[in-house]
């Protein structure tokens, strides 16, 4: 990234501080450019925010950037493991040793050597933070169950109990059926993981973790693996010899069904990623309008819109957690479902179990 471009972004940061929008910036760099009128590139700013970064930028107050440099962990087969702070890149050339931080916040090797990047990026740090938060909260909730045994729930416990019961009674039981208990740990973990990270992403300075394709890919993959490992013969029978389908149609149906195995988790992955990223992009676009219009008058209007969007995103945060968990439960349910009365049409109707209350 060249110095002129950086200064423009820096200039913007000063304004963006008002909205507490985190943005990549570079410290110790030509402070005189601070108050120059710069061209605002909304697209770059937004992509920087929704993407990943090797440092965690919280805010810029005057000339001081509140930035947390994060560890860079690189592994190359020739050179072995390289661990250093991302603040090492803070120089004119953005290089440290053989590595350079490019304008997309990617580390590239100057010599073209092959290496793997296992850095603790902003998303990874946020992931650890959320994991820690989940562990602290739910360990204390579990402790409360021991302590308040035989008594009414209180505190955090009484806040989370209805949600846990909702996941059990309205997501797992109706979709999976009698075998729901085996899958409760996964469903609860994935529900709270997505919800907490969605909320953390909405915080000022938060990372866009659940709007990252790698994260949703892993979650969707785990759902797929659970479906495949818990599938019974009826599930495969349904794929390779769909009941009620004439034999001559099977050459078409089998590939369709096989693709269906993949498209289900794929849709899970894309839905969560797209919903969360889109929410962030909309809010950031709204704020960008202020700087594009360069007028204080649009401010209140934009803030009202952004506030509305933020509240909507709070709803989306739990809604997407619910949708992901519910669909995972549905797919697991279709894999473990027993068909006592198969053979004719109507198998499709069975795939959604009636409530087992």
């Amino acid at each position: 990234m060249d110095a002129g471009h950086s200064s423009k972004i820096k200039n913007l940061l000063f304004f963006l501080l008002l909205a507490l929008i985190p943005l990549k910036s570079f410290a110790d760099e030509n402070p005189t450019a601070e108050y120059q009128e710069g061209e605002f590139k909304a697209g770059d700013m937004i992509l920087h925010h929704v993407g990943d970064s090797h440092e965690w930028h919280f805010a810029t107050i005057g000339h001081t950037h509140l930035t947390l440099p994060l560890p860079v962990i690189l592994y190359s087969p020739e050179r072995g493991l390289d661990v250093f702070s991302s603040s090492r890149f803070h120089n004119e050339t953005q290089t440290y040793g053989d590595y350079r931080l490019d304008e997309h916040d990617h580390i590239v090797s100057l010599s073209g050597a092959k290496f793997y990047d296992f850095s603790i990026t902003r998303n990874v740090a946020s992931l650890f933070l959320s994991a820690l938060l989940l562990i602290i909260i739910f360990f204390s909730v579990a402790g409360a169950y021991k302590k308040n045994n035989g008594r009414a729930p209180r505190g955090l416990q009484s806040f989370f109990e209805p949600i846990i019961l909702f996941v059990r009674d309205d997501i797992a039981k109706p979709n999976i059926g009698s075998k729901y208990q085996r899958y409760m740990p996964y469903l609860l973990t994935v529900f709270f993981f997505i919800w907490f990270n969605n909320l953390l992403g909405l915080m000022p300075g938060g990372a866009n973790l659940t709007g990252n394709i790698a994260v949703t890919l892993v979650l969707a993959l785990i759902t797929l693996l659970i479906v495949l490992f818990s599938s019974n013969k009826y599930y495969w029978q349904h794929i390779f010899a769909t009941p009620g389908v004439p034999v001559w149609l099977l050459p078409i149906m089998i590939p369709v069904e096989l693709i269906g195995i993949i498209t289900k988790p794929f849709s899970l992955m894309v839905r969560l990623f797209a919903n969360i990223t889109a929410g962030h992009i909309i809010i950031l676009s709204l704020f960008s309008l202020i700087f594009i219009a360069k007028s204080i008058a649009v401010g209140p209007v934009i803030v009202a819109f952004a506030l509305f969007m933020n509240i909507l995103e709070l709803l989306v945060a739990i809604l997407q957690a619910y949708v992901f968990t519910m669909l995972s439960a549905l797919y697991i349910g279709s894999a473990v479902e027993e068909h006592e009365h198969h053979g004719d049409l109507g198998i499709e109707h069975d795939s959604v179990h009636p409530d087992h209350h």
């Binding site: 992931l127 169950y145 035989g150 846990i164 740990p185 790698a214 892993v218």
Partner: protein, 164 residues
Amino acid sequence: MNLITPELGLLFWQTVTFLCLLLLLGRFAWKPIMSSLREREETIENALKSAELARREMAKLRSDNERLLDEARAERDAMMRKAQQTADTIVEEAKNKAAAESNRIVESARAAILAERQAAVDDIRRQIAVLSVDVAEKVLRRQLKDEPQQRQLVDQLIKDIHLS
């Protein structure tokens, strides 16, 4: 494009972290929470069931009590009726007996009175007879002290006999 290309580092950390989270939460949070919830639900269900059972038992007891009470009441009524009847009979009998007895006493008194009276009358009659005879003897003795008078009497007597 950057946005839709999954990065190796995050893939790796997400997999590791999520699996650890799943393991830790599953073992130390969800397991005790779910079992506590299940336990509590069972406790509540059992409590409700036993309450229902107690309610039914109570209703049964109440109906039993009522039945017993009804029976006792009926029995009491029957006994009272019977006692009344018995008392009535006894009183009736006693009345009859008393009447008969009094009649008998009156009857026998009357008979005794009659007999006494008869005896008294007889006695008086006898006494009068004796007195009369005595009086007559005394009178006669005085009158018959002289001869003519005796003769006159005898004549008189003879006359009387004829007449009679």
